[in-house]
């Protein structure tokens, strides 16, 4: 085995040892990826929004993209978007509530969100995640589920592992 090949093997082993997860959710547009707690058993979506169902855990990870400008709203800001989400909760568009705090994700300005939504059957779903600003859009990534420990673990893993590709 050549020295270069040996170095490549060592680098690969180090990389896999240092990462917290071997499962990733890939942005359909290829702009980012983040780690998942377990393997994906279901996935659907497109560049605008996507979701990943995780094996053996009652938690789903969602991604929703908001363009920075469109024909209706010429210019959005991170703060305006997060406040608009807050308004939709506070005006009771859904039964639930949301709190937010400024944070940093992948070196970018972001807001970390902590919410719950109750469905028609009275089940309480936690939504925890973050809204981060990318080059041409904002991305809302949330772990959604009924079991608090899984939701918190997945949300924290996604926040710490987000990798921007561009």
């Amino acid at each position: 085995m050549s020295a270069a090949a040996r170095l490549l093997v060592i680098a690969t082993l180090c990389t896999s040892a240092c990462t917290e997860s071997e499962y990733y959710a890939e942005d359909p547009d290829g702009e980012f990826r983040f780690a998942l707690l377990d393997e994906v058993v279901g996935h659907e979506g497109d560049g605008q929004r996507a979701l990943w169902r995780i094996a053996d855990r009652p938690v789903t990870v969602t991604m929703q993209r908001v363009p920075k400008r469109d024909t209706m709203v010429r210019e959005r800001t991170l703060r305006a978007v997060v406040e608009a989400i807050g308004t939709r909760y506070s005006e009771h568009e859904v039964e639930g509530s949301m709190s937010r705090s400024a944070c940093t994700v992948a070196g970018r300005d972001a807001y970390c969100l902590n919410a719950f939504v109750t469905n028609a059957d009275g089940e309480r779903f936690l939504r925890r995640g973050f809204l981060v600003e990318l080059d041409h859009s904002f991305v809302l990534i949330e772990a959604v589920g009924t079991r608090r420990s899984d939701v918190l673990a997945q949300a924290e893993l996604a926040r710490r592992s987000l990798e921007l590709r561009r």
Binding site: G42, L51, T60, Q64, V66, F125, V144, T146
Partner: protein, 97 residues
């Protein structure tokens, strides 16, 4: 001279008394007319009172429903405006668990 003075006084009394009587009759007839007018207007006032809003019942209920409609419209406008700025689903993923 004395006789002339008496004649003047009698003439004056003869003129003044009918005037006083006439004035009294006119005054009493005017008063009666006012009373009859007031009596004629009473049913109209009663009718007006009947159809005026009752501040303690219907009016309060109407105002409450008007306030509710206004609040609901304001809420819808606020949600619509916020959704244009943040077009994300608040329930995405919940029905997929």
């Amino acid at each position: 001279m004395m006789k002339r003075a008496i004649q003047c006084a009698v003439t004056a009394i003869a003129l003044v008394v009918p005037l006083v009587v006439f004035a009294q009759e006119t005054a009493s007839s005017t008063s009666a007319a006012d009373e009859s007018t007031a009596a004629a207007e009473a049913p109209e006032a009663a009718a007006a009172r009947q159809y005026a809003p009752d501040p303690t019942a219907d009016h309060v209920a109407f105002q409450a429903s008007l306030d509710a409609i206004t609040a609901a419209a304001s809420r819808e406008i606020a949600i619509d405006r916020a959704t244009r700025i943040a077009p994300v689903s608040l329930t995405y993923g919940i029905d997929r668990l």
